[in-house]
Point group: D2
Chain length 435, copies 4
């Protein structure tokens, strides 16, 4: 045991009345919700990058965190892994996620970087076996190193594409070895800083090709997990190709990959794209590509991705409602892509952040389940569209009526539909009974 | 002749040195640009709704314009048509565009509304023959009447769908009769005000069905024009299904209509969606769905659609560059979806608005043509991606290499690509030589 | 009794477990919170304009509501008043607010408009006596009529200034007669649509003069209420002079009115200005100008003022926390500047909207009170700044130390301060215990 | 001479027809504009931080620039200074600006940091004498070091206040020694990350005290330059106290400093605050606090401060119009607070960025001068407000009429003002004749 979290005990469920800041008030892993354990619904994962690799810097200031594993190479990486698994244990989170760059120092060459990655994977394998912590997903960091500054798959230089492809392979190999349940691609630099120096058509084709390579390799290696794309509209780029769920869907359709790839939706990315999070979840479910979520929150008054821990139960509840209605997570889960504020410099702040986030999600899940169990909300929705169950309406919808047929009926029956109340305030009140 | 524009003469080209506020300084219809007349490049159209139907109201105040055709029914509609064609003549714009609701009063029934629409179309037909003004596109207003408050094609009530379908048919018929070169669908209420009362999957299927009906009817009636969808992310709705070009592309692919339907891109809608206009144009060209444009400008400090006349040449130039590179307009054109500010209450303001807008576009077009003729910008772009012409790069791109092949090459050749300057500032300066 | 709300009974408190959509679950007027009745804390008011004058239109569609008082002049105004007081009674709200233009038709002349206003005031006076409903504030609508399109006090035409001044006088007179507890000025057109046609310095001086006239008249007439300015950054204008609380504070200081005028802060206006609502409340308290609030909510994904009923308890709780810490409302209160969504066309929707809003505020107030009673949050804050209680720190703060003195001490003592955790996540969790 | 810019010659004016990317096409220092040399109007300054200290990192990636002075302490600082003055010479910019942290490595103690600063100042002094380059302003970096993470003047820890005060003194001393013409304070961390842990009233008082200390010391030391505050609404903080020009004005009034301190306005900060840049310039002129400008541009589609080089002439022209109307710069100037895009990694890119920016400003200045010389725009404005010159209007404005007097006149004369066109489109076209 390192002494990084010295004096902090395992966090336990104490119930809503607890005033212990280091206890769960809502997250009770074994509590049954809609017939399933709460932990199996939520499938929480902790993100290696924010909690262990991020230094607390922002565009106007450098590192604020002082972690004993910074500024040392493989020794630091090993200590970091040790502390990481200690935190997984303290919090009782069942999963974690990582990029290669979070866990190992960069080597001088591709081969060396891969070797270091594998060395850390050995440590992970052992610790996972000891602790039972599992890998929700792995991913390659194709955006931090300066070689990727102009894009990875979408770089004008095909050597960068090749280097990125090789890096993905290394990460897929490690993810498979560690029994990761998904493999994620976030195209942080797959976009442009200025359209002036960019060939959109060429770059999209490159991106489509890379994704096809990934899918082909997945099948070849027998990886049973899900390949996930993570939409984001901008930042670091001015424009990112995987703008939002609908854009990703169009991209997948263009390259014939809509049955092979799903999305990992992040709260803050939805906000940056001008959507609510629940919109993105519901849209993904509609398109059949809902995979996993990156849970966090964005500051509504800031124009960048703040990656804060969620704390607003009503918002989270609506997202879990749509997840539950879509059947819940299959291979996906709730990854905390959330980081401490840079002023939260103490080890115990890592606990506070995750406890608050997990409790918020647990309350949200329970509220969503209560909405579903109550049934009046779903009944309202069914009723609102009930007219479409009529035979003539179904005939229209199925394409059995032409524009002329429908026009003839409108004229013949002098159809003159009257509007009906949309009942938004009623529904908001109804939902507020549960959150 | 009405006396609405009394004292105002036909607007003529007088060249850049002119200080006459009622002359063109850049728009010279017959000037040859890249081997084609300027008017054939730009294909300007004037929008009936903003210039003749809009009353100058905003959410905090009512009508500011006093037009003699307001508050009277068919008589007003006829006077309005007369004044409209007078403005087309004064400005020398070759095209116009309209919704049914702009040109005729609403009837008590569908049949009556259609009859009134046809009566106005008779007048249009005559005036078009007299003046040579042509119809760029027609469209149905499926958003102003309260029957459409909850959507037209996407309404929970199938009777509203039917009424909307019939209305579209009437407008397609009139558009074909007037030899319109396109038919546009803007889904102003096809979206939701709250996700709480909405079934996304159902509504998208309804919208897809409606578009299929339109395409089928187009072929049946032998309409040779283009069917265009107009993206907008929100307003009046909280969320609109045709969010942006990429979303529309995905929608078309979902319903198998990507070869049948193109997009009509509006500047202000691009801005609302978080894009530059040139981005949307270039993205549509990339997806092969660039149809036509609605030219205007949005206030960058306002969060709603301000529909102002364009006045920033550098921005407009980049859009026309992408249009020219995509081969220019086929059936599409440059429609001014722009309205006077509500304080610009005089008839002469209608002239100022359009003159400024047309001159801005003409300068933009000439700048774009100059960039192309100069060639150094295009050469830069070619050079930037030249590496992809190599045989091995092409093999990767075409799918002739697997992830393992590529990885093996990276390892074998110890590929370690170095970043190259993206030259953004150089390119901005280069473009500024032409605008 | 009109039959507008036929079949709807007076809304009563039934407690959190109630599933009756026409009952309060949290708003219990006589419940004691921090030693005071809940209704005396909240001082709810209903806004005449949104609930009775607004027709359901938006920039893309006209009236959706069908109210029997639309389209008739004084008869309609009387019926409207009758229905309004019925709603006040049904909901049990103690206050209302109005603009002249909400309650009476516009006359041909100033004198006639004033006469009509007074006639409606007669009716109000009688109904207020009968029902006990009180007037929280009155105000003049100086933005809807086209005469104000270019501003009221800030118009380039001094006759418009004069007309606006006279209109304000008429409204102040009526407000005083009806024992209004405040008089509000919202400068909906006091700003500019384009800086190009605007003299900022001149217009600000005009605005300062108008406010001085109001303050002088208040004292002369012996009005004991508070004069309130309502900040808003834009909409309908591109820029509004009363941008936000801090801007208003500077304006008041410039014209020497900071002890005479306070602010009426609206949630949605705070959001449009890039602030949280609680920020604006706390800033007003800091400057000593916190007066009253307009409670509503804005859609975070829309860029315009949506004026929805509040429904997010955590957000509302933080605002009431700051109000309570500032001593609660004096003459101010909680006015619902909130309107139904335009699809909520039924009379009963007016009930749902207000019930939801009032319950949200009541929950928020109770949560704020619980935070204060618990005391641990306030104790944290005190502790965080405790260092400033030291003598040397106080000396610095009071100006008893010069830059040189302080520098000398830094050098002498080799002061090298170490950062302390800001504990944001801990505090968010702490607050979440109460909401 | 270092060899950093090897092969690059001094940039010269070659006129608009030049296609040499390393020549000025508009910036001609000695050209006379409105009776004054262009360089005396514009007073360009180069910012040390962006061009020499910034490493090309962003929140998702580290250093992209490879500069020989990175990663070495005083040796690097000296080489950096050498290269900096080489760039000043190559470009022919008359001024530069710096923070302490840009030019010297941080020491272990305050005393050591100050000593290093003074050592670099010795070098600057010598190079300034050799080259004639002058210091537009100096400033202290009170935001990058972790000690300032919770604010400098507004820190809960008075020791941080003291350390900041001492640091400011050191920077003021150096600025005075180097004959800087202004001293700037940008409160990058003077604000809050969460209102939850913040006492607004306390922090504002601390900030007011610090500014008073600065002003007192300025007078004591006999510094003849101007003290400037630089507004910014957010970033890095969620909320920054010096939000915008109007907020700063209120702050100065609150602490009685409005005659002592002016503002340094940055384009991108205006945009972040929801304003145009020309608005902020005009507002500062109105309040008598216009000091200097930080010229750059923000990406309108990004929500953060992008600090790009300006390239849109029409926008820049309007700002210089307002600067010229306010009498031009006194001690202020045009500082390029602009940085290369992180992909612009070559030394020559530093030249492209500044050349483009300087040419854009020069074109803007010339356009602004042409608008003024033409006179028709100013005449329009005078005419628009001419009604206020009438005696009765003046009497109202000067407070010689009460609300009752004005009302009596409105009634007596039956004043019923009619709106006049605001002529926005006409004015936009007029301005476009010059840009």
């Amino acid at each position: 045991m390192s002494d990084f979290f010295k004096g902090i005990d395992k966090v336990r469920y104490e119930g809503p009345e607890s005033t212990n800041p280091l206890a769960y008030r809502y997250y009770n892993p074994e509590e049954i919700v809609l017939g399933k354990r709460m932990d199996e619904h939520l499938r929480f994962a902790l993100a290696y990058w924010h909690s262990f690799a991020w230094e607390g810097g922002d565009p106007f200031g450098g590192r604020t965190f002082e972690r004993p594993w910074f500024d040392s190479e493989m020794e630091g990486a090993k200590l970091k892994a040790e502390v990481a698994f200690e935190l997984f244990e303290l919090l009782g989170v069942p999963y974690f996620c990582f990029h290669d760059a979070d866990v190992r120092p960069e080597g001088e060459t591709y081969a060396e970087s891969t070797k270091k990655l594998n060395a850390i994977a050995d440590i992970f394998e052992e610790k996972m076996a000891q602790t039972g912590t599992k890998l929700l997903w792995g991913t390659a960091n194709l955006f931090s190193n300066r070689r990727f500054m102009g894009g990875a798959a979408t770089n004008p230089d095909p050597d960068v594409f090749a280097y990125a492809a090789a890096t993905i392979k290394a990460n897929m190999d490690v993810t498979m070895r560690l029994k990761g349940e998904n493999y994620v691609l976030w195209g942080g630099r797959e976009g442009y800083e200025t359209l002036l120096n960019t060939k959109l058509d060429k770059e999209l084709d490159q991106l489509g090709r890379m994704l096809s390579l990934v899918v082909d390799y997945k099948h070849k290696m027998g990886f049973k997990g899900t390949i996930l794309l993570e939409p984001k509209p901008q930042e670091p780029t001015k424009h990112q190709y995987d703008f939002d769920v609908s854009t990703v869907y169009g991209f997948l359709k263009k390259y014939g990959l809509e049955n092979e790839v799903k999305v990992n939706i992040e709260v803050g990315h939805a906000i940056l794209a001008g959507h609510t999070f629940e919109h993105e979840v519901a849209m993904a479910a509609t398109h059949g590509i809902l995979g996993s979520i990156d849970m966090n929150r964005n500051d509504y008054q800031s124009g960048w991705d703040t990656d804060q821990f969620p704390n607003n139960v009503p918002e989270v509840a609506l997202a879990y409602y749509h997840i539950l209605k879509a059947g819940g997570f299959a291979t996906g889960g709730t990854n905390f892509d959330a980081k401490l504020r840079r002023q939260s410099i103490d080890p115990v702040d890592l606990l506070y952040g995750h406890i608050g986030g997990m409790d918020t999600c647990a309350r949200g899940l329970k509220a969503a389940a209560a909405i579903i169990e109550d049934g009046s909300y779903d009944a309202f929705l069914e009723d609102r569209y009930a007219g479409w169950n009529d035979a003539e309406a179904q005939a229209m919808l199925k394409g059995e009526r032409s524009l002329e047929d429908i026009t003839a009926r409108v004229e013949r029956d002098n159809i003159n539909p009257q509007p009906k109340s949309g009942r938004q305030e009623y529904l908001e009140n109804l939902i507020n009974r549960f959150v």
